[in-house]
Assembly symmetry: C2
Homo-oligomer: 421 residues x 2
């Protein structure tokens, strides 16, 4: 059997019929390379916004089941139109929604996880020489209920399909040209990476880089699917390949710098230093589906025998978190609750830092030299994050990008040239 390439095009890439024609050309080019092609598409441009607006006109809190029914129609439109556009170029194409394919998910609306994908129908159509167009973002439960996969859902669909079909590669076409060392809007000299490891990509995504949703990277990593992020519009460029670290030659300690401006810090002061207080706090937040990122608990003060517990959450969850904490206040007998949204999490990510001690201190020094105060620190094997004032974020990113020699005019020359600090 021929190699299978899965291609994914987001909403911007299929925003109107002219753009759909361009996507058809890109798809056909891959087919003409001698590959079997499965294309995953999102809903056209602003379709989802339009549908959500109508739903809000009708109901303050529309049921998530009916929202999934509604939103899933968006990809229904784009898959059929893309199949027509491909056919108009003289190639055979067929579109399927998630229910037709059998993209099974758990029975949770608006953010379901994929459980299994049936591949018979897809393989049969590929074997007949057809280009197969599949609706992204949606799934179906065993009971025939329509679900959606939540943020980054179409990326997840594409990667999961690539895994199920044992595809050669999954190409994520998007409106940027690849993965950059940092946000080019902040640092114009940011360079596009040719390769990055799944782990680095995951950390970058979690650190605020918006190119790919972490879930899709996680699935790619688990299933060893090489992922490529590339431009829908500049198709001659190969973009950035995301693959297993074991396949990479690591020639740099730091691969990227990211800033996440959407975090908020909460400090719960004077929590009595008795066992189970932190558990009470964080299990309650988890119940409310509030993800906590960085956590710091101070040593207990000798005099009062209390702790301060500081943590960060997504600003979008702030109101819900305030409510939850106010309900908890009497239960855990804590003091004041301080909230600060004017913060940013600045991170450096690199698989190469594993074998290179001293990267953290380089980061702290760089920030110190700029007079930037670090409020919290968290680290993983391949990432160091510092919480700073929001107003310092851009300055910090620029300085770190320079410190670790990531600029486009020098990155080509530094291969293996960085000091093993």
């Amino acid at each position: 059997m021929r190699r299978i390439i899965v291609q994914k095009f987001g909403g911007t890439s299929v925003a109107d019929t002219e753009k759909i024609k361009n996507v058809a050309k890109t798809v056909i080019k891959e087919k003409n390379n001698g590959n079997n092609v499965v294309v995953v598409v999102s809903a056209m441009g602003h379709t989802t916004d339009y549908l959500v607006k109508m739903a809000r006109d009708l109901s303050k809190s529309p049921s998530s089941r009916e929202m999934d029914m509604l939103l899933s129609t968006g990809e229904g439109v784009s898959i059929a139109l893309l199949a027509m556009a491909i056919q108009a170029q003289g190639y055979e194409a067929v579109s399927f929604n998630a229910m037709q394919v059998g993209i099974f998910t758990e029975n949770i609306h608006s953010k379901a996880r994929i459980i299994k994908i049936q591949t018979e129908k897809l393989k049969q159509n590929l074997n007949e020489g057809k280009i197969v167009v599949v609706a992204g973002f949606q799934g179906v439960t065993e009971d025939g209920e329509i679900t959606t996969l939540g943020r980054g859902g179409s990326d997840t669909s594409a990667v999961a399909l690539a895994a199920a079909l044992n595809a050669e590669r999954c190409d994520i076409y998007t409106d940027v040209e690849g993965v950059y060392t940092t946000d080019p809007r902040v640092v114009p000299k940011a360079s596009k990476l040719k390769e990055i490891s799944y782990e680095e990509m995951l950390e970058l995504a979690q650190a605020g880089a918006g190119v790919l949703h972490p879930r899709s990277v996680e699935i790619a990593k688990l299933n060893h699917v090489p992922l490529r992020v590339r431009s829908s519009f500049k198709t001659d460029d190969t973009g950035t390949l995301i693959l297993g670290v074991e396949k990479m030659e690591i020639d740099r300690p730091v691969t990227g710098v990211a800033a996440d401006l959407s975090q908020a810090r909460i400090v719960v002061c004077d929590v009595p230093d008795v066992p189970g207080q932190a558990a009470k706090l964080f299990s309650k937040l988890a119940q409310e589906n509030i993800s906590v990122d960085m956590i710091i608990q101070s040593y207990a003060r000798k005099v009062s025998n209390t702790n301060d517990i500081a943590f960060t959450i997504d600003s979008a969850d702030l109101e819900k978190a305030k409510e939850t904490l106010n309900q908890l206040k009497d239960n855990i007998h804590c003091g004041e609750i301080q909230i600060n949204s004017d913060i940013a999490k600045v991170s450096i990510v690199g698989a190469g830092m594993i074998d290179r001690p001293g990267i953290a201190s380089m980061m702290f020094e760089t920030l110190a030299n700029l007079g930037i105060n670090i409020k919290m620190i968290s680290t993983s094997e391949i990432k160091i994050s510092c919480l700073v004032d929001k107003s310092d974020a851009d300055k910090a990113v620029k300085a770190l990008h320079e410190e670790f020699k990531l600029a486009s005019d020098i990155i080509a020359d530094v291969k293996g040239d960085l000091p093993n600090v």
Copy 2:
């Protein structure tokens, strides 16, 4: 189990969110009458036109499979929105597309016929007290291919669901208030009928009255489903009930007058009078999917031993018919082919004419008195149609409407009062 009422709302009735809110009220009113309610909806207002336009942008002749994939998304939107609107009023509602219900059709795209409908899921949800909203116009094949039912498809879905669910009644909500004795735009005094038989409705629909597609009436008749045509906007009115003639007291010879302006007449002149010529002609037209309505073959001329064969078709098929006939010309050795689109078929319909001879002659006399030339005549048990010049159509309809005493200001008084001519 409670009685089931099936309600159907067309595209105009769900054209925007305000109208969807109104539909929700009408649905809830029926639910509050103590009935189980299944609602069938079409795509919102101009959705279908918009989708078709995009398809045409991409392809001159988009594949009918992909067109069905595309168009079926239209009802996907309206069912979810209506379910939300009902929920917002505090009632439980759930929407299903044809694939989820199991509305199985033959494997033909763009005009599939319904084969069977699974009722388990519907009944289960009704028993749980929910209002069930179902996508009209669409179906699914045993292989999971999405199909559409063609013109009048949502009416057909509604009636077929009513039949499968053994519903008490199927209410077709539309932008007119019911079935009229004739088109009120032509005859302002046309009266709304309280009742009409399936057979009369079928003949009227085929004679050009646009309220209901004949297919839905046919299914209602076969399954003894009482059908009601009523206004989406004036919900206090009961509209027109369509039911079996055996349940009606027939108090009038003629129930309605209709004009069909979309016909074209073709005369194939000098066809050699040998067996099989008509068969060749009409089987070829049938192959091309061209429906023939009236047919007249003249007696063979003694001298030339040839016939003239005249027939009418839908004007929309005219170009295709011309092509087909030109290909046939040499094969059947006919003479000139005359085409006339400036014609109209004027019909009177009434189950009451079965026992009342002389109705036909009343019609012919009425037309003759106006100096209207009759070009062709065709009859059924309960219908008489005359082909006239298009410019005479309105005049003919007005005169026949008066002759058979159908005007709104007198119809109430004439019960059983018409002469048994």
